[in-house]
């Protein structure tokens, strides 16, 4: 099938999916931590978190990717040369996951910050007044209610992250885009294979749309919708 390149395309697709899933997990963890710092952290931490989110959202993801991937590698080379130890090469997959997670963590941070602020402050205060620890207030009161408000934003960010994985072929990862390019070069049929890659991405985004609307229906269960 596909002039013998079906397996390659499938491998690339699986790489793309695992890359996107792992990056989103990292981005969510970073996002939650940064949102927490922005809302409840010390002043110094807040400034640092603001610099992080502004810088990341002001610079194109591709530039950041190249900066982190090549820039970190060259810094690392200087360090290893200084200490006279063997050169450490950053694995492209690990670098891709870390970079995407680091970049989209900033987007998730803003989503979570907005969602945290939607939970009325009185609820947190009454939780504390009832003798819950701050950790319990977060886990039992803030987090479950925050999720409902955060879900549309999370879905949006997931789609953006998924589409951003197309860039990792530029830093040398053999993902779906790279597979399509290799197959296109070998068969002189760039058109079919790049359209195929686009179609696979479209299927992935459509599937996640369906899953997300299902999740949203679940998390808004018990919330009255205003009909206009």
């Amino acid at each position: 099938m596909l002039k013998g390149y079906g397996g390659l395309i499938l491998d690339g697709t699986l790489t793309t999916i695992s890359l996107a899933l792992l990056s989103v997990v990292i981005a969510i963890v970073i996002g939650l931590a940064v949102a927490g710092i922005k809302l409840f952290g010390p002043a110094f931490g807040r400034v640092l978190a603001d610099v992080y989110t502004t810088f990341i959202r002001g610079v194109p993801d591709l530039v950041l990717m190249l900066l982190i991937f090549f820039g970190l590698q060259s810094l690392l080379n200087q360090v290893t040369a200084f200490f006279n130890i063997e050169i450490i090469t950053i694995d492209p997959f690990v670098a891709g996951v870390a970079t995407l997670g680091f970049i989209y963590g900033a987007y998730f941070a803003e989503t979570f910050r907005g969602a945290f602020m939607m939970v009325p402050k009185g609820q947190l205060e009454s939780g504390l007044a009832f003798g819950l620890s701050p950790g319990q207030v977060f886990r039992l009161i803030l987090f479950p209610q925050m999720m409902r408000h955060a879900l549309p934003g999370i879905g949006n960010n997931w789609q953006i992250t998924l589409k951003a994985t197309a860039l990792v072929s530029i830093i040398g990862l053999s993902d779906l885009v790279r597979a399509a390019q290799v197959a296109g070069k070998a068969t002189y049929d760039f058109f079919t294979f790049s359209l195929l890659a686009a179609a696979i991405y479209l299927v992935l985004t459509t599937l996640s749309n369906i899953l997300l609307s299902y999740l949203e229906r679940r998390y808004t269960a018990g919330v009255r919708q205003t009909a206009l």
Partner: protein, 232 residues
């Protein structure tokens, strides 16, 4: 770092001595994309809300496909994909058009931003209270005049904050143009990197330039919001 600025500062800003490069090229891509995208999106947004299925459905499909696929792949399809087709290369006009990285980059950027901007504009038009439309109809407005005098001024005002986000995203998307040989900021950074092996300084300068452009755009849109959304 300083030697990079003295040696390549000019290339980063506007020229490498032979052609326009760097910030000038990025801004050129951004401005032309925004102008064309804005005009097409207005018409597409109106068509998207049409009661005629044969008009609204294809526009929805166009926007869904372009929003559901990565911009990089769209650029690849247009630049390497379409030009690899035999009949395109043999046709004088098509061959001329698709042989240039610049033209392909602008085409891909315009199509991509149209998909998003159409959704933004049609959402804004739809959110206008029905009473305003009824009042306008009662005063005798209809068709084109209703759109030009009542719907679009209100909708575009409302869309401004979301549209400013899209403009920043277009600026970010232009950074992919270097993959089709357009000498924008990132292309200069890559050349500097391969010439000096100072990856961190090269890409760091590019990142700072993009950051500066983003901040300038944000400030501009704040000003625009103050002017046009002052009544809100």
């Amino acid at each position: 770092m300083i030697d990079i600025f003295t040696e390549y500062g000019k290339a980063f800003l506007y020229t490498d001595g032979y052609q326009f490069t760097g910030v000038a090229v990025t801004l050129y891509l951004l401005v032309i994309t925004l102008i064309l995208g804005f005009i097409f999106s207005l018409f597409l947004a109106i068509g998207r809300l049409s009661r005629n299925r044969f008009i609204s459905l294809p526009i929805w499909l166009f926007s869904y496909v372009f929003r559901g696929t990565p911009f990089y792949i769209q650029l690849l399809v247009i630049y390497t994909g379409i030009y690899s087709l035999g009949f395109v290369r043999e046709n004088d006009y098509l061959g001329w058009f698709f042989s240039s990285g610049y033209r392909c980059a602008v085409l891909a950027l315009v199509l991509n931003t149209c998909a998003y901007t159409t959704e933004i504009f049609s959402g804004a038009i739809r959110s206008i209270p029905n009473g305003e439309v009824e009042a306008a109809r009662a005063y005798g407005f209809s068709g084109w005049r209703l759109y030009r005098r009542i719907l679009l001024p209100a909708a575009l005002r409302q869309a401004l904050p979301v549209y400013s986000n899209e403009v920043i995203l277009v600026l970010h998307a232009t950074s992919l143009a270097f993959t089709v040989t357009v000498p924008d900021i990132l292309k200069v950074a890559r050349d500097v990197n391969s010439a000096t092996y100072q990856a961190f300084a090269a890409f760091g300068s590019a990142a700072l330039l993009y950051l500066g452009l983003s901040i300038a755009l944000i400030v501009l849109f704040r000003k625009a919001e103050k002017r046009w959304l002052a009544h809100l």
